[in-house]
């Protein structure tokens, strides 16, 4: 089971503005999976020191992937909802955040609590941040009734630094320990010529080191570069880096594009097919070695008089991403959203 969903970037965290952010995401891939995901984020300052952020999202999934089509010849559908609440309070140059997230879908449920703290130093040119999260994840071994459990402990630390009035960087480190059932019950591999659900180790420690740069260039143009180095105890190693440019076409229009390259090694127990009696074996495509590339285009407009019935300052954002992996997997992802400032 996958164990991640970005809840809160603990660093570089600007103070909240009263705002409603409504987005619609559409994902379609070469396996025949379509996911439609509306979500809403609501942020409100209750006092000059206390801010609350609420999120609600839904995934409507229609899947005709190999794993589903094995038993459901016409494909299958699934639905997932996720809700989260975070409260942030300022204490001088420090901010403390506590929150929780709950998500539920057919055959999977996740419950998370988190806490983070950040502090501005050096006249706010340096921000040091750290966070911790615990998740209890409960996959059901469909088509049977058995429910397994998985515990995920996650810690993160970062330093964000403004070097000049045009340059800011961030370095971060995250460690994640996952214990419990971690086999994907839907993905099978060939074991002695028979398609069989895999068997993965029940402990995994994951390390991720990141470095990011934002650089303002002349003529209202901005450069961004991100890098992440990842290693875990299943011997999955990866490098991911992305480069992007954005440009202000006047005061109300922003356009941009980015490119991302990703490469990973396979887990130590990965093989295309298995014979004999291996302790661990997997058909999980996320544990295969592969590379991928993706390109993204983005456009934002903030009309002077507001959007339709929405108040002035409302922003329409459109984004499209194309993803292609050496495994043959391809996907297109469209996002449209509006940000509405609230009083």
């Amino acid at each position: 089971m996958a164990t991640s969903a970005l809840l809160l970037a603990a660093a570089g965290y600007n103070w909240a503005q009263n705002q409603l952010d409504v987005s619609f995401h559409a994902f379609q891939d070469s396996r025949g999976v379509t996911v439609l995901s509306p979500d809403a984020n609501f942020t409100k300052d209750f006092t000059d020191r206390t801010s609350v952020k609420l999120k609600f999202g839904v995934d409507a999934i229609s899947a005709a992937s190999d794993s589903c089509a094995r038993c459901h010849s016409d494909g299958a559908t699934n639905g997932r909802f996720v809700g989260s609440a975070n409260i942030t309070r300022k204490y001088g140059d420090s901010k403390v955040t506590a929150g929780a997230e709950f998500s539920r879908e057919l055959f999977y449920q996740a419950t998370t609590v988190l806490a983070s703290v950040s502090r501005d130093l050096n006249n706010a040119n340096t921000t040091v941040a750290g966070g911790f999260a615990f998740s209890l994840n409960q996959p059901q071994l469909h088509p049977g009734p058995t429910v397994e459990s998985q515990q995920s402990y996650d810690a993160y630390g970062s330093v964000t630094q403004s070097w000049t009035k045009r340059t800011v960087t961030q370095v971060g480190y995250e460690i994640n320990q996952v214990n419990g059932y971690q086999t994907n019950p839907f993905l099978r591999t060939t074991l002695n010529g028979v398609m069989t659900v895999g068997n993965s180790p029940d402990a995994r420690t994951r390390h991720a080191l990141s470095a990011r740069l934002r650089q303002a260039l002349p003529a209202e143009t901005f450069f961004e570069a991100d890098y992440r180095r990842y290693h875990d105890t299943w011997s999955v190693d990866s490098n991911a880096f992305s480069l992007g440019l954005s440009h202000h076409f006047g005061p109300r229009i922003v356009g941009g594009g980015s490119w991302r390259h990703y490469a990973q090694t396979g887990a130590y127990f990965y093989q295309p097919e298995y014979t004999g009696s291996p302790t661990y074996f997997t058909g999980d495509f996320r544990l295969f070695p592969f590379d991928s590339n993706s390109v993204t285009g983005r456009f934002e407009i903030t009309p002077k008089a507001g959007l339709l019935m929405m108040p002035a300052g409302s922003t329409l954002a459109l984004q499209y991403e194309r993803y292609r992996a050496t495994t043959g997997f391809e996907a297109g992802i469209f996002t449209g959203g509006v940000r509405i400032p609230l009083k």
């Binding site: 996958a2 164990t3 991640s4 969903a5 970005l6 809840l7 809160l8 660093a11 965290y13 600007n14 987005s23 995401h25 996911v35 979500d39 995934d59 999934i61 997932r80 996720v82 997230e101 998500s103 879908e105 055959f107 999977y108 996740a110 998370t112 988190l114 983070s116 050096n122 006249n123 706010a124 340096t126 999260a133 998740s135 994840n137 995920s152 810690a155 403004s162 070097w163 000049t164 009035k165 800011v168 995250e174 994907n184 991720a208 990141s210 934002r214 303002a216 901005f222 990842y230 991911a240 990703y262 990973q264 996320r286 295969f288 993204t296 984004q319 991403e321 993803y323 992802i333 996002t335």
Partner: protein, 72 residues
């Protein structure tokens, strides 16, 4: 202490000392507040991260993580 640990500690100390030299004044921070300069994930970026982690064997590095989903 291994060479790797020493090197890492040296980089950290150098980084901390160097950051104290940066003195961007509050009135010079306008460009740094531009939406193109902040690291916070908006909804589109958060969704992109979410589905990338559904397809790839690695994760994290940019903030604390939640329970994710099992639909992958």
């Amino acid at each position: 202490m291994s060479m790797k640990v020493r090197a890492l500690a040296g980089v950290l100390v150098l980084g901390i000392l160097t950051t104290a030299c940066a003195t961007v004044k509050p009135w010079q921070r306008g460009m740094l507040a531009d939406s193109c300069m902040v690291f916070d994930a908006d909804s589109a970026t958060a969704y992109m991260t979410h589905w990338q982690e559904a397809r790839e064997g690695s994760m994290g590095g940019f903030g604390v993580q939640g329970g994710g989903c099992g639909c992958k």
